[in-house]
Structures are given as C-alpha cells and as structure tokens.
C-alpha cells in the first residue's frame, strides 16, 4: 500500500526537500515539479496516486492547476498552502481538492491525511455498512448503531451523518453540506447546519463537546474521521 506514488507540485525547493525525505522514509515514491506547467506535464505523462499541490506557484495559480487537473484526474489532491484564509481553502475544496494543510504543518498530520486519502480512494464503493470504532452506519437499512444500540435520528440528521460518513476523512464545506442535505435554496442558511451538527454530536459522540467523529474545520466545514 505504501508504495504509492506521490507528485509534489511546489515552487519552494526547501519544502520539496522536506516532503521528499518525509514521504520516502515512509515508503512512498516521490516525483517533483517546481512550476504549474511542469506539474501538469508530469502528472499527465505519469499519473501519480496522489498529488500534493501548493497554491502559490510562480507561473499559474494553484487553483487553476487544480481545475485543469480535475478535468481528467480523479485521484486525491491535497492542498498545501501558506494561505490560511478560509475563502482560499473553501475555493480549493469546491474545485475538487480532497484535503488541505496550511504551512507550517506537522509531518505526522500530513502523513495521516495522505494515508486517509489513499485509503478512501482505494475503497470499494459497494459496502453499504460503514464501521468506525464503536459506530456503525448501515446505508441500506438507514440505521445507525453505537455499541450495537440503535440510535434514533431524524431524517435530516441521518442524511447529514450519512453524507459525512460516506466522505470519511474529507473536509466537506458548509455550503456543500447545506446544498446536499437541505437543497440549493439553503446554501446561506448555515444556522441549520450548526444546530443539526450539535444535535448529531449529542446523539453519536461520547462527549459532544470533544467530538471524535465529526470534527470542526474552523470557518470551512466539517470532517468525519475514524481513529486509525
């Protein structure tokens, strides 16, 4: 599994070096590109299993690179950027990025995100049952169990949880969640999302205040995670 190939598109030599050492010592094969043009050519000639993309490239914006990549490339793209403003992050996620990390980042965190993205990409889509620790979500029966006890969820709560769980490990933006669960007319009604996330946490989390399943991505969205 760890022999996956990763392409790094970043103009900073130091960052590329750091990533190369980090990834290689964890068993990944690494390819590098220092410009947007180079990155697009390399990824087309030799499609990697995952791309780490910097947003601030010298010749073209990373957003543009992501958009071009997503015309044909469906494997995970993780954004690595010094831009910590939410707008940029939301834009990248809406353009099809699987995940993002803001520089400076912890290598442990990066490796965890890479593992999670690769695992989800390799997953067979046929299993209707999602198991996370003591939580079990059955998409065919539309039931949720915790420690084998059935949890009563409203229809909206269930749709929200199912959507998050189906995208395990991935950040889903507020707008995306509102559009998918409530409909296009509710994109700006984020108060619904806040209330239902709070209710869901009360029902599925052991301690709703320190959630282990539904994590808050400040100002961006929510992420469903499972302990590794």
């Amino acid at each position: 599994m760890n022999s996956a190939e990763i392409l790094i598109i970043d103009d900073e030599v130091q960052i590329r070096k750091l990533l190369e050492i980090t990834l290689q010592s964890n068993g990944y094969k690494v390819n590098e590109a220092g410009t947007a043009k180079d990155g697009l050519i390399t990824s087309a000639n030799h499609p990697p299993d995952l791309i780490i993309l910097d947003l601030g490239l010298p010749d073209e914006s990373g957003h543009e690179v992501l958009r071009k990549l997503r015309e044909w490339y469906s494997k995970p793209v993780i954004i690595l950027s010094v831009q910590s403003n939410e707008e940029d992050i939301v834009k990248a996620l809406d353009n099809g990025a699987n995940d993002y990390l803001v520089k400076p980042f912890r290598t442990g965190e990066l490796l965890a995100r890479i593992r999670s993205a690769l695992r989800e990409a390799a997953k067979e889509e046929n299993d209707p049952v999602i198991n996370c620790n003591d939580l079990q979500i059955d998409l065919s029966l539309r039931t949720v169990k915790k420690n084998n006890d059935l949890i009563k969820l409203t229809a909206t709560e269930y749709s929200l949880l199912a959507l998050l769980a189906k995208n395990k490990g991935k950040v889903l933006t507020h707008q995306y969640l509102l559009r998918e669960v409530w409909g296009p007319g509710y994109v700006s009604q984020s108060q619904y999302l806040r209330v239902f996330i709070a209710q869901l946490r009360k029902k599925i989390e052991t301690d709703p205040n320190t959630p282990e399943f539904i994590l808050t991505e400040s100002g961006v969205g929510y992420r469903f995670v499972a302990r590794e």
Binding site: N85, E86, E87, P104, T154, A155, T156, H174, S190, Q191, Y192, L193, R194, V195, I197, A198, Q199, N209, T210, T216, S218, G219
Partner: protein
C-alpha cells in the same frame, strides 16, 4: 480635510468671540463712563486685547486691537461720537494704544508658536522612543528563536559524534520549540498588520459558541496541560453571527496569554452567556492578577507589563482588542478581588435561537 474644516470653523469663532468681548467690555465701560475716566477705559480695553491674545490667532487679535482703538476713539475720547480727536495728547495716546495692542498680539503669538514647536518635537521624540522599544522587543523576539535554530543545527551538523544522544535530543527539542515560538510571533505580526491595514473584512456566519470555545481549547491542548481549563456555556445559548476565524484568534490569545502569566495549576475558566442581545464571554484565571495601574494599558500595541519576564511582543492582547472592535464589541480587564484576572468581551451580534429551528 476634516481638520481643515474644524480649523476654519474655529477661526470664525475666534473672530466672533474677539468682537463680542471687545463690545461687551466697551459697553460696560460706556455705562460706567460717569465714574471712570476715558484713560482707564483704554487700559481695560488693552487688558481685554491681551487676554484675547493669550488664546487666539494673530489675525483675530489684531482685529480686536483695531476695533478697540476705534471704539475708544469714537465713544470715549472727547469729542465723543466722532472720529476726530480733540487734543494732540489724545492723538498720541490713541496711536500708542494701537501700537501696544498690536505688539502685544504679535509677541504672544510668537511665544505660542515656539511652544507648539516644542510640543511637536517632544511628540516626535516620544514616537521615536516607542519605535525603538518596539524594534528592540521585536528583533529580540524574532532573533532569539532564529539564533536557537541556527546554533542548534550548527552543532548537529558540525560534529554529530561529539554530541551524546541525550544532547542531540535536547537540541532537537530546542529547535522545535524555537520554531513554534517564531511561528506564533509571525502569526501575531500578520494579524496586527491585518488590523492596521484598515481592510479587515469580517466574514460573519452563524457560530455555535460552545463549538468555538471547545475548538480553541482543543488547539491549546499542549499549552494548557498544566492549567486546567473549564468551559461554562449558558444553556440554550443562541447562535451568534460572528467571524469564526477572528473569534478563534481572540480566545486563543486570551487563554494562551493566561497560560504564560499565571502559576502552574492555576485554573482558567471561560464563560459564555447572552446578556441584552450581546454575546458576553469571560476568561478568568486564578493567577496573581495585573497591577491595578496597568489594566487599561495592556491592550496597547507593543505594551509589556513593567516587570514582565517572559518573552512576547506585546501584540497578543492588542490583537484581541482589534478583532473584538472589528465586531463593534468591547474588551476590558479587571482584577478579581479573591485573586486572578478577568477579561470580559461583549459583542453585539445578530442572534438565532436554536429551539425555533429544531422542528423539521
């Protein structure tokens, strides 16, 4: 532009007040002209002009001098109610009166100008002093971690065999600590420049304050390992429309600040409630509190407590103030009588009640 308008309005007022004062004094003298001689009137008018010269610009004062000379001539010097002057002595008197009044005005004006220059110079010196302290503390705050990183890596690169494993481990820990310190300072500087730029745009959205507080405390897990943090959120607290990112910085800085200054195992309590449609957040600790005379200054940019030992740029709390004020809110600090400090944030914000949304 605004200063120019107010300056001009002031000038008109100065003319009006000068004319009015001379007229009033002249009228009083006129009604008393049976009892006082017209030479005394000249002195009284001269005193009035001198008085005006102490506060007003040169032109209104000169106007007062000219006007008073004219009034004295017409209403007091015999023959009265005419411009003509009866005796040579009075003519000389009138001329001297006008000269003395004018010289008086000019001298007072000159003195005031010199004073103004002095004040300006002093202000410039103070700004320079502040700038130097700022630069000193900033370069100290940035260079210390950089020195640590360079020095430690030099050691590790130069001759790794001379270093014991334990030493290597220590150097690596120091590099890591220094990097985080550097990162924190850079973040503060970036946030400060966001506030200073004047282009701080709020991205307001509905915020679950409970979620916000726990999120911040989670991010401060390492720093708060010796300081228990308890969060008390009023039940059924509504949602508030706030900028989540900025509020995160506000609370992060307040709690982080507390962990630096209070003794180990002092408790930090964060409370949130809704009072008069305002979000009220308290961050309290059981530390030693602040010196009473410094509780207002701590929010000033680059201000450091007088006996402060720990590192810092004095930016953390001014960022708190900047971000809270960007929300049209207020922040204040007071000492708790039983010991410890209490920060109170009040933010007027749009409210959405949770209960009304629960029905599907």
């Amino acid at each position: 532009m605004a200063t120019w308008i107010s300056y001009k309005a002031n000038k008109t007022q100065q003319y009006l007040i000068s004319i009015l004062l001379i007229a009033v004094v002249a009228a009083i003298c006129f009604s008393l002209s049976q009892y006082i001689g017209y030479h005394v009137v000249a002195l009284l008018l001269l005193v009035t002009v001198s008085f005006i010269a102490m506060f007003f610009d040169i032109l209104p004062v000169l106007l007062a001098a000219f006007l008073s000379a004219l009034i004295w001539n017409v209403f007091f010097i015999p023959p009265r109610f005419s411009l003509s002057v009866g005796t040579t002595e009075d003519a000389l008197f009138l001329a001297m009166y006008f000269v003395i009044a004018s010289v008086n005005a000019a001298l007072t004006f000159k003195i005031r100008q010199i004073e103004k220059k002095e004040v300006k110079k002093e202000q410039k010196e103070n700004t320079l002093k502040l700038y130097n302290t700022l630069l000193n503390s900033l370069s100290h705050e940035l260079r210390t971690p950089i020195s640590t990183i360079i020095g430690a890596t030099d050691n590790l690169i130069a001759d790794a065999t001379k270093l014991s494993d334990e030493n290597k481990e220590e150097l690596l820990t120091e590099i890591s600590k220094a990097s985080f310190r550097l990162n924190r300072q850079v973040e503060n500087l970036l946030n400060m420049s966001r506030i200073e730029s004047g282009f701080l745009q709020l991205k307001k959205d509905w915020v679950d304050v409970n979620e916000l507080l726990y999120d911040v405390v989670k991010r401060l897990k390492e720093q708060t390992q010796h300081h228990p943090v308890s969060i008390l959120v009023k039940e059924n607290l509504p949602l508030f429309k706030l900028d989540f990112g900025l509020m995160e910085h506000v609370l992060y800085n307040l709690i982080y600040n507390a962990t630096i200054y209070i003794p180990k195992y002092s408790v930090i309590t964060v409370k949130a409630s809704c009072i008069n449609e305002k979000l009220v957040i308290n961050v309290e600790d059981t530390g030693n509190g602040f010196p009473e005379d410094e509780t207002e200054k701590v929010f000033d940019k680059f201000y450091r407590l007088k006996n402060s030992k720990t590192g810092g740029t004095g930016l953390g709390l001014s960022i708190v103030k900047g971000f809270v004020e960007a929300h049209d809110g207020t922040v204040r600090l007071e000492n708790i009588p039983e010991g410890g400090a209490k920060f109170t944030i009040e933010i007027p914000a749009e409210i959405s009640c949770l209960s009304s949304l629960k029905n599907e």
